[in-house]
Symmetry: C3
Amino acid sequence: MLTIESKLKELGYELPLIPASKGIYKRCVLAGGLLYVSGHVSINTDGSMIKGKVGADLSDEQGFVAARQCGLALLSTLKDHLGDLDKIKRVVKLLGMVNCPPDYTGHPVVINGCSELFAKVFGEEDGIGVRSAVGMGSLPGNVAVEIEAIFELK
Amino acid sequence: MLTIESKLKELGYELPLIPASKGIYKRCVLAGGLLYVSGHVSINTDGSMIKGKVGADLSDEQGFVAARQCGLALLSTLKDHLGDLDKIKRVVKLLGMVNCPPDYTGHPVVINGCSELFAKVFGEEDGIGVRSAVGMGSLPGNVAVEIEAIFELK
Amino acid sequence: MLTIESKLKELGYELPLIPASKGIYKRCVLAGGLLYVSGHVSINTDGSMIKGKVGADLSDEQGFVAARQCGLALLSTLKDHLGDLDKIKRVVKLLGMVNCPPDYTGHPVVINGCSELFAKVFGEEDGIGVRSAVGMGSLPGNVAVEIEAIFELK
């Protein structure tokens, strides 16, 4: 069986470098039997931010890619924290937050960028959890997407 | 003792049909001893969406009804998933998200539409959990309200 | 060792009076081994609301203070509920919601007002949890900041 990391490589995805933050928070906390992970913003592989409002500055497709990059950032943090992504049992929950204008309506399709990634690497049963995909008035540094998550470990 | 379903019938409420979604997510995931439920948007009994911004397109009272319909949608999903709504022990947490203009201030009264429903059917002790009732910049398909929830099972 | 309450006193902070609310919710629910706490809005020590949009009506520094007051409000509720703040083991998660205009970008620095307080009173290991710091379209009563939290008890 392929490891999660070899699946990522096969799909052509690279885990981004998570830049230092001005925020006072931990990236992961294990509590109540679940691994809570902080909101991760949309970044490129080099750690630079993917900025702009989806539906104004960015297309739906660019929003989808931004959400996928949030997913890769979450996986990068999980690899740092756990050492091995195969310690993850399943995705429990995502809160997908899209930076967009008040008349934007395509949030689910944008957040699918992350959900599709997790479904591909963890499989449809374990990689898909519950979710809300919603529109924020604004996000830190004007990033396009931010996603927070809860995972269950093996 | 009345079952939850007979209480709903007595109150005159009907569980809506949950329409198919373009989003990649599960409606419920049981993890860490709790049942996580995806954000459910405001829909009518026939599954059509209740759209518009509360405080602009919709009145507070219409927002209240939209939030109650989110609650009924959550219960519809729970019935599908559990078979029997009496398997629910208590409401743990709601995140009530109102689609509204930047100067809107009445979020708690709107989300009470869902909270009051749950208090009536599960009782004041078990039906009322913790909550945030907040204003989103936008919501999928321009729905009026979206609510995600955590439940504890018996 | 100093108690949490004596640390608060030493830092010169006072727990605010939590005003009655029109919302139907509990302030705390213990479930799945964790203590869930409702969203607490920015209030002064006398319980009056700190209102306005950060980045328009309020400066970043005023937003920071508003977030710290949310933290003190959370602690006030926890003291009421638990009797003793030393029963808290750790901060698991914060959702920090800033009321701000669409072009605002400084959310992490604002929510640090709460995170820094918790780090000071509970220590860096236990006082810092995971976090998202994001911008809402609007908040109840036009409050500046609202923060919901999950804690682990000893």
